[in-house]
């Protein structure tokens, strides 16, 4: 999906429902008001003292206005919301790699105090999706949701504008595993993860060998743009795992503690037409030869660090 496709699809949500409407599970009530005010450090006696309340002309308990959106909030669920509780417009960005989220603005407008017994309903509408913005957190889009709150009579009681930034989080570099059980173990050399190659190393974690594809034109190692057309649009294809040894070496020196020597290292030509360097599994140095067919396997060299490896077919 190109950046323009993403924006077009995201903006198709503007003006529509962000989530299905919600009605509060509990009426406005004194215990929840008290707990909320205590948690917020709001000592205003208006929220819990009947005399002060009466002096202000209120018969029953009233809620701090800032609690406007509390009543219709999703239930607390350890581990986060389930997929059906999310917003499709934000999920679209998640799927496109904009997995980071941060709330940037909230504006609330209060039309009246909520009183004990009120049952609040909420409707959320996608108000705006910004152009691509380059922020300190990363590249992303601001998504603005308008909320309208009504009472049990259907009358408006308040509004809220809530803006989040959906962004591509910075690349995280794979750190050598903190291996408490084997503190002297030499760490297996790690690759540098860039925006251009991250898919390859992510794919390996799923035990998939992914090859960059520009409309069927395969390239390895990956490049930002198609060398033939200049297109920045690419997808990946999963290697079948069949290939032949195009060349090889047998390492004797220098040696790293994390390998066994003599160490064959092979350059395999995959049947898809690209070549890749990897190690052999279950083959001795004298069994390796140019032209021999091989099949792909994977080896977990450290916890959660998976590399491709080949076996003689």
């Amino acid at each position: 999906m190109t950046e323009q496709d993403l924006l077009t699809r995201a903006r198709a949500f503007v003006g529509g429902e962000a989530t299905p409407p919600v009605t509060a599970r509990d009426a406005v009530n004194q215990p929840m008001i008290r707990r909320w005010a205590e948690a917020m450090g709001d000592a205003n006696p208006l929220w819990h003292d009947p005399q002060v309340r009466a002096a202000g002309g209120f018969a029953g308990a009233i809620a701090p206005p800032a609690m406007l959106d509390v009543w219709t909030m999703a239930r607390y669920r350890p581990g986060g919301r389930t997929a059906d509780e999310g917003m499709p417009v934000l999920q679209l960005f998640d799927a496109a790699g904009y997995t980071g989220v941060v709330a940037t603005n909230i504006e609330q407008e209060y039309l009246r105090y909520l009183e004990e017994g009120d049952i609040v309903s909420m409707r959320a509408t996608v108000a705006d999706v910004s152009d691509e913005k380059r922020t300190g957190l990363g590249i992303g889009h601001f998504v603005t949701i308008d909320y309208e709150f009504t009472d049990q009579r259907g009358d408006a009681v308040g509004r809220m504008k809530f803006r989040v930034l959906k962004f591509k989080p910075p690349l995280t570099q794979a750190a050598p595993a903190a291996d408490g059980e084997k503190p002297n173990k030499f760490p297996h050399p790690r690759p540098a993860i860039t925006h251009d190659n991250a898919f390859f190393w992510e794919g390996l974690k799923q035990r998939k060998l992914l090859i960059q594809s520009f409309g069927g034109r395969l390239v390895h190692p990956p490049v930002p743009a198609c060398p033939e057309t200049g297109s920045f649009d690419w997808t990946t294809v999963e290697a079948s795992g069949r290939g032949t040894i195009h060349s090889f070496v047998i390492m004797h020196q220098p040696q790293l503690p994390c390998f066994d020597y003599p160490l064959p290292v092979v350059l395999v030509e995959l049947e898809e037409g690209v070549r890749i360097v990897a190690n052999m599994l279950g083959a001795t140095a004298d069994e390796v030869a140019i032209g021999k067919p091989v099949t792909l396997d994977f080896v977990e060299v450290e916890p959660d660090y998976i590399l491709p490896a080949f076996r003689l077919a």
Partner: protein, 389 residues
């Protein structure tokens, strides 16, 4: 066509001794070689107004410049890709003097590569997300961590495709050590080897034996470039820069060009060779000697092919016939090369090219009118053709 050909010349060469432990700073080595090169040329160090070196050199231009009493530095440049630079600082210097940007440019390379750090111990860069470090991620997780190992992968395929053998690689090493044996400056002075010793030397990375790999050295080399006009009044006969070129392409990778159609090829050098011959207006028949970059023996063979001394895949026959030795069709690496003299990232080869033009090599080739000098192979590279005035 207006080219760089014969616009500039190398007028001075200098070097420190070549050792395994210089016992002094790389910067001092650079200064010593620079002052010797300027003295060789008969140029006052205060006249230097340009410097060029390798990105891998650790000696800032301004540190060198203040040490030699420089007054106004008007040009400085650095060339990337390790030993692939070798000839390119001379090309940049020639461009600078030909355009009037600078008048006197010193090209230098100084390193304590043996005593302070070693390229051959294995390269496992930290996972910093740059394109340059990401490159190594395709190799180091699989234990392919040394320059020898990166070269060996292409060498193995070259052998398979063309029937070259380890002995053919060995003959390159034997010739280099024979030449070094008569060069008092060479680390392996008076230490020739036999092909049997080459074959018996231990494996480093199959198919490379120990004696297929160049030395690791401490030392420095510097050369002085000025305009052809300026060269006329100087102490030494000029080595005219008849051609100078850089080259990369055909999906070049840093020492691992494994993705081009024929990985036995070092296409970078073909691109350099075509330019050099075109600039000079000559062909291989006009070349009497060559300094071919020899960090590892296998890549000498495709260089002979790139420059047209043998057809593709047939350099082994050219070598078996003794053509790369003294008295042969194309004596190469008459100083002993990096296998025999020292590994100064190829700049010592440029200095030997100058000596061949001057007629002062310890293994002088008769009737030299054109010498080819090349830079590191398996990487983006560079080359020169040097000639007498």
């Amino acid at each position: 066509m207006d080219t760089i050909s014969n616009k500039a010349a190398i007028v001075g060469i200098g070097a420190t001794e070549f050792s395994k432990n210089s016992g002094r700073s790389e910067l001092r080595l650079a200064v010593e070689a620079t002052l010797e090169a300027l003295a060789d040329a008969g140029i006052d160090p205060a006249e230097v107004d340009g410097l060029s070196t390798y990105t891998m050199d650790n000696n800032p231009e301004i540190e060198l410049f203040r040490a030699i009493g420089g007054r106004a530095l008007k040009f400085h440049s650095r060339i990337h890709y390790g030993g692939g630079a070798a000839c390119a600082p001379i090309m940049h210097a020639a461009m600078a003097v030909a355009t009037g940007i600078a008048k006197t440019v010193v090209c230098y390379r100084a390193m304590n590569e043996r005593s302070q750090y070693r390229f051959g111990t294995g390269h496992t860069p930290p996972p910093v997300p740059t394109a340059e470090t990401a490159h190594y991620g395709w190799y180091v997780p699989f234990g392919l961590i040394s320059p020898a190992s990166w070269v060996a992968m292409q060498a193995q395929r070259y052998m398979h495709d063309h029937g070259a053998t380890s002995e053919d690689f060995g003959r390159v090493s034997v010739a280099a050590r024979r030449h070094a044996a008569t060069n008092p400056k060479a680390w392996f002075y008076q230490q020739p080897i036999t092909l049997e010793e080459h074959q018996a030397s231990r494996w480093i990375v199959e198919p490379l034996h120990l004696l297929d790999c160049c030395q690791e050295s401490d030392g420095a080399v510097a050369v002085v470039v000025t305009s052809v006009e300026g060269a006329k009044s100087l102490r030494q006969p000029p080595a005219m820069i008849r051609a100078a070129a850089q080259g990369a392409g055909d999906d070049s990778q840093m020492m691992t060009s494994y993705y081009r159609k024929h990985i036995g090829r070092i296409s970078e050098m073909n691109i350099v060779a075509e330019q050099l011959y075109a600039q000079a207006g000559i062909g291989p028949a006009d070349v009497q000697a060559a300094i071919l970059y020899d960090h590892f023996t296998p890549f000498v063979l495709p260089q002979l092919e790139a420059f047209g001394f043998a057809r593709e895949g047939q350099a082994k026959d050219f070598i078996r016939e003794g053509n790369i030795e003294l008295g042969g069709r194309l004596p190469i690496n008459t100083h002993g090369g990096q296998l025999g003299e020292a590994y100064i990232h190829g700049l010592n080869g440029v200095a030997e090219g100058v000596r061949l033009v001057r007629g002062t090599s310890v293994n002088q080739v008769a009737g030299v009118s054109n010498v080819i000098v090349t830079a590191g192979t398996g990487v983006p590279t560079s080359g020169l053709i040097l000639s007498p005035a």
